[in-house]
Symmetry: C2
Subunit: 204 residues, 2 copies
């Protein structure tokens, strides 16, 4: 008999999120800096199970497309990796970007800076959720057009992320993809350059 | 004689940043989540005054171009707003994006998700800097090609931000652009939608 070591899998519990907690998390996101103070983000809170099931079905198709594009060894690893908790989480938070907010005279806006601002808000949301003992997963396997149609998002507004949010069984110290042997983290020292690209030693 | 009320302007002090503090701030950035665990960011630390002066000169030209595009009333407000602290800050931190890191099989990568990851790292850096009592300003008035040439950034790597970093005289409670009447913040309630786009009341 083979002794299989099984990981305790981190799971969303699905427990409802307290309204005051959710408000704090969204307020943290909304407090992010933004180019020209445009605050180009919106947050669509999705609890409806029919909506979530439809999105999950779409994501599953995109996941299979990606799996089919992988070499065999990578595909096997990928099969073991959880990529979404759309139905298991307490709610979905869809974060969008409105390119026309503050137009036409956006201070500092070049083509993509508004999208950058939305990402700053997402990271604030992520950190606030963690501080409130909630897990967060960013689902990236989807077509924007599908989500736009599903949620009635108007022209000119672009969905940037579907975030699965809610209490989890526990937190991991090592990222899932590293635990599953998908990819290792690189040391900080390799990412820091002095004065010009190329020199990678840290110095004060 | 006219009695002019002058704001106490928030200024970078230019004091050197302690090496341990800088390491903590960069480590916070480097701890950000990233699509497929690609960690596609790098950080170029720029203290050299010649490099900074050259960048500032370029930014000044771009600022004037933007000012020239504004209606008169907006241009007058804009003239009063500080948009950079390139020479006054302690150092510049240029954050870049390497689209090829982790390629070709990036888990979850669609065209722009790698750039999103870089922004998550930038927000971590921003919050960590604030926690260390340092100011941070994101300079967005520049051409990427100029910065690429100035710092020897190779093909395939894209500069996302020049961050002015360092101790400041004090912190403001109200964002600069709001204090200068450029734009008001909108209430959180307007940014939150329930189930589908359009309904903007917060609910738990």
């Amino acid at each position: 008999m083979i002794n299989r070591r099984r990981d305790v899998r981190r799971e969303f519990t699905g427990a409802p999120v307290d309204q005051a907690v959710l408000h704090r998390v969204l307020a943290a996101a909304h407090a992010a800096p933004s180019v020209g103070l445009t605050q180009p983000w919106d947050f669509v809170l999705v609890r409806d199970r029919t909506t979530r099931a439809a999105f999950r079905e779409h994501v599953e198709i995109k996941r299979e497309e990606f799996a089919g594009s992988l070499p065999e060894e990578r595909a096997e690893r990928f099969a073991k990796i959880r990529i979404e908790g759309i139905l298991e989480s307490s709610l979905g938070v869809v974060v969008t970007y409105d390119a026309n907010r503050g137009a036409p005279n956006v201070l500092g806006r070049h083509s993509i800076a508004g999208l950058y601002s939305v990402c700053l808000a997402i990271q604030n949301l992520w950190l606030a959720a963690t501080a409130e003992d909630m897990g967060l997963g960013w689902v990236s396997f989807y077509d924007e057009e599908f989500l736009t149609g599903l949620l009635g998002i108007p022209d000119g507004v672009r969905p940037v992320a579907w975030l699965c949010l809610g209490p989890v069984s526990h937190f991991e110290h090592t990222p899932d993809l590293e635990r599953h042997g998908w990819r290792k983290r690189r040391p900080l020292e390799q990412a820091v350059h002095l004065e010009r690209w190329g020199d990678t030693a840290i110095s004060g």
